[in-house]
Symmetry: C2
Subunit: 405 residues, 2 copies
Amino acid sequence: MMNIAVAQSGGPTCAINASLVGVFREALKEQSIDAIFGSINGIEGMIENHLIDMKSMIMTNEDMELLRQTPSTVLGSCRYKLADWHEDDSVYQQIANTLVQRQIGAFFYIGGNDSMDTVNKLSEYFAEKGLSIRVIGIPKTIDNDLCVTDHTPGFGSAAKYVAATLREISRDSTVYSIPSVTVVEIMGRHAGWLTASSAILHALGETAPHLVYVPEAEFSLEKFLRDVRRQMTKHKAVIIAVSEGIEVPEGVQSGVVDNFGHKYLSGIGKYLESVIRKEIGCKVRSIELNVMQRCSSHICSKTDIEEAESIGAAGVRCALSGETGRVMVFRRVCDMPYTIVIDHVPASEIANCEKFLPKSYISPDGNNISDSALSYFLPLIQGEPNLIMECGIPKHFTLQESVLK
Amino acid sequence: MMNIAVAQSGGPTCAINASLVGVFREALKEQSIDAIFGSINGIEGMIENHLIDMKSMIMTNEDMELLRQTPSTVLGSCRYKLADWHEDDSVYQQIANTLVQRQIGAFFYIGGNDSMDTVNKLSEYFAEKGLSIRVIGIPKTIDNDLCVTDHTPGFGSAAKYVAATLREISRDSTVYSIPSVTVVEIMGRHAGWLTASSAILHALGETAPHLVYVPEAEFSLEKFLRDVRRQMTKHKAVIIAVSEGIEVPEGVQSGVVDNFGHKYLSGIGKYLESVIRKEIGCKVRSIELNVMQRCSSHICSKTDIEEAESIGAAGVRCALSGETGRVMVFRRVCDMPYTIVIDHVPASEIANCEKFLPKSYISPDGNNISDSALSYFLPLIQGEPNLIMECGIPKHFTLQESVLK
């Protein structure tokens, strides 16, 4: 018999709790697993020995269903990068103490790039110290920028939100008779996956988004204005999707100061809005999809949620088979019918590297997404789970505020 | 036999096309009605004789179902205020010419305050000129600020989006261990109905929104900062809902100029974010729900959509009974079980006046919504229609771009 622990890390998604349910549900089935601990605020909970008993947190099947449909991380999160243990292993000792004291034989870390670095370092450290504690990484991120895996849990739901919302914004923007431009700012500092997913609409016969700018393509303000002017000759209401991370020469956080002397940290959308207003002079609006693109579980992808749960469960089976220092990944067998298998690879192959949009997904002009990318994106946004509602609003599972200190 | 015409006006909502379907479907049933014209871009289409034959636009039952679930105004919209016809009736003559030439006996105008002013003026003008053309107003606005009617079609869906999204934002904001404040800016320049609807979450056991500021309550920056500081002693992640229209002493559009010499027209959310950052110094984020709050039909209220269709249909019956210059209204019979009846009143009672939140709905401190308001809001957001999907995204009904010039 052994106990296990699980933690969540990095930015929220709609699917990270589904992966937690996957770990929990699979562990419940295993005779060899006794207590299932949840670490509060990611690895910080392991350092501070702040764990909760998940069996007394999730009591019923409805609890599990609610948790699956609850966005964000129910156990809290952190942005914590472990130091190199060869130089300073004091934090590693604290984590090991927690694990040994609680008789934890396997630790599951659900997170992005940085978390996979943690998985890598911890598994190395435990091996070095002769501790038989297995460490398994479960991927998640709306950015879809993890290497090796076909895609990451959380991305499909975010992409579904982005595409559905862009379609609605497109309807909204065409009502008046005067020409207009709408700039929609989408998350992605280095990789343009989520912004590119807005082009899903092209598969549905929409002309929007008429322009798509991702960090992987070079950006020039002159060319941007030419692009916008050309689209305005074709469409009354031009819709532009732009990654927050595209590089503009002047820099966006350009030292704008208000009457208070505050610096305005406005994003690329607001910036491009002001450029269009000045240079073209038409009606223009910018929209930041903000945290809604990562937490709008009311329009999550059923495929995403189910895959997130499956990959969590597969992580438990991987640990039970004796593996450690591995990250679970999806391998796509076929676009249509969409078929994936779950595999695992050494954490070192995934930690600290980023996956970018392939060149073939970006149009030759660098201002849109090519149709060849659509067969990649489309399967990930399919299906809608039956959400449990409460007075007309999707119901959530939450911990007491006092638990999440 | 007579023909009829229908037009849509003002800002988009999720329900304005459902009212159009209501008019169309009811008119189809009537033997005495022949052609059903749609006026492009509201009253502008009537002035310019730019009408389309709706029977060749909506061909199938699926077309009607799709139109019901499509946000915004399929016929386009306008912001056009008719001049006083006693002073200049040239535009009135153009409208009358269109109506007479097309043998239109009844005109239905779906819109907000300004549109009801148009209904009032046109019906007076036609009566004065001895033209037997009936004019009926069908209300819509996410602002819910029309007088007489219990509520307006479009509001329920916007309120459902706001409440569901605030709940998701609340989950998103609690993941990290450091204290934070999130300011959510919600539409409503003069009336706080939509912002107040965020307090629906209190009926579901949520502590958020912890503070709610509406234009109907006096706002002071000093008290605001005191309120925020007090909430921060109780909650790790403080969520604030604020109407775009609250008055701040300094003025929000305060002449901030960037490197380009552009004025930044940032909203109240960004402004309060900067004030909190400066004065309190904690982690703070502002979120503008932007056009998503009026066009997110993927989470529309079934009650709202069904009522919007019913009130459109009732407009047709009202015209057929010989009435003119009337606006259709909802009268609430009971909160629970929720019961409304559809009635109509002279357009002059509704045109150009605004309905504000009653004092009893605002907490004595002026910084939240009282629980007594919840029985008003809750029935309006109930139910989810079965949306027709297309590749994982709600399908829309659209006209050719060329029709909407």
